[in-house]
Symmetry: C2
Subunit: 143 residues, 2 copies
């Protein structure tokens, strides 16, 4: 626990599952319904602050989430990132990207290029409950 | 090899080292002297396209690079990302970020917030040869 760290003091978004060493939240970023974060449990800033066994566990969980997102959401591309400039508590962004989304092919942090069609956003959002059931099943098996 | 893929047909930047399964390039992005990419050797789009042993090897290499960047460049934060919307050939961005840099604390893909001081950029650039010697030594040991 680090005082004042929003990822120590709260979940950081809608909780999907809590595992022994991390949790998964839905990021609730407007325009990107398929946006999840793996938040590491302990307060470390950098990926390389973790011991090798935790790094391996963390990235296998990232791969499980990515694979389930691909199966359920069928994105054009998955984007992975661990930035943490504003909140230096290790968390991985996992974003399902589509050719129709507001920023594609630019990163989600760049300027928007177009409006995302509302019906496409709704269609992706509709697939999240089944995806999240899969995440809970597969990540329970991993832990 | 995928026809038309710039990361199959060229190195993608100044080559720092070539290992059995990946290479490391300096990204030459203006304003970010401490910007490297690990480019996976075979043409796969997504991290989860790799078998588990390759994923583990890839991320241990990322951790080695990150650690060496921290030691030599002493950044405020390291940013890691595998995006690939434009070039869907697996590559990891590793960026040394500083509180004085043009975009901090925003991601490097967001809009600039300020000018980076030229003397700070030059200071970081001056540290790259020693960093790259370390990368060649440590990644040779990993392979």
């Amino acid at each position: 626990m680090a005082a004042g760290c929003p990822l120590c003091e709260g979940d950081g978004g809608r909780l999907v599952l809590r595992a022994a060493r991390f949790r998964v939240i839905h990021a609730e970023e407007a325009g990107f319904p398929g946006f999840y974060r793996l938040v590491w449990g302990s307060h470390v800033a950098e990926f390389s602050d973790l011991p090798a066994s935790d790094r391996a566990h963390c990235m296998e969980a990232v791969a499980v989430i990515e694979q389930a997102m691909r199966e359920h959401l069928q994105p054009a591309k998955i984007n992975l990132a661990a930035l943490g400039n504003m909140v230096p508590h290790l968390h991985w962004h996992l974003v399902a990207r589509y050719e129709w989304d507001s920023h594609f092919p630019a990163p989600v942090w760049a300027a928007a290029r177009q409006d995302s069609p509302a019906e496409r956003l709704a269609e992706v959002a509709g697939r999240l409950p089944a995806l999240e059931d899969t995440l809970r099943q597969r990540l329970a098996a991993l832990t």
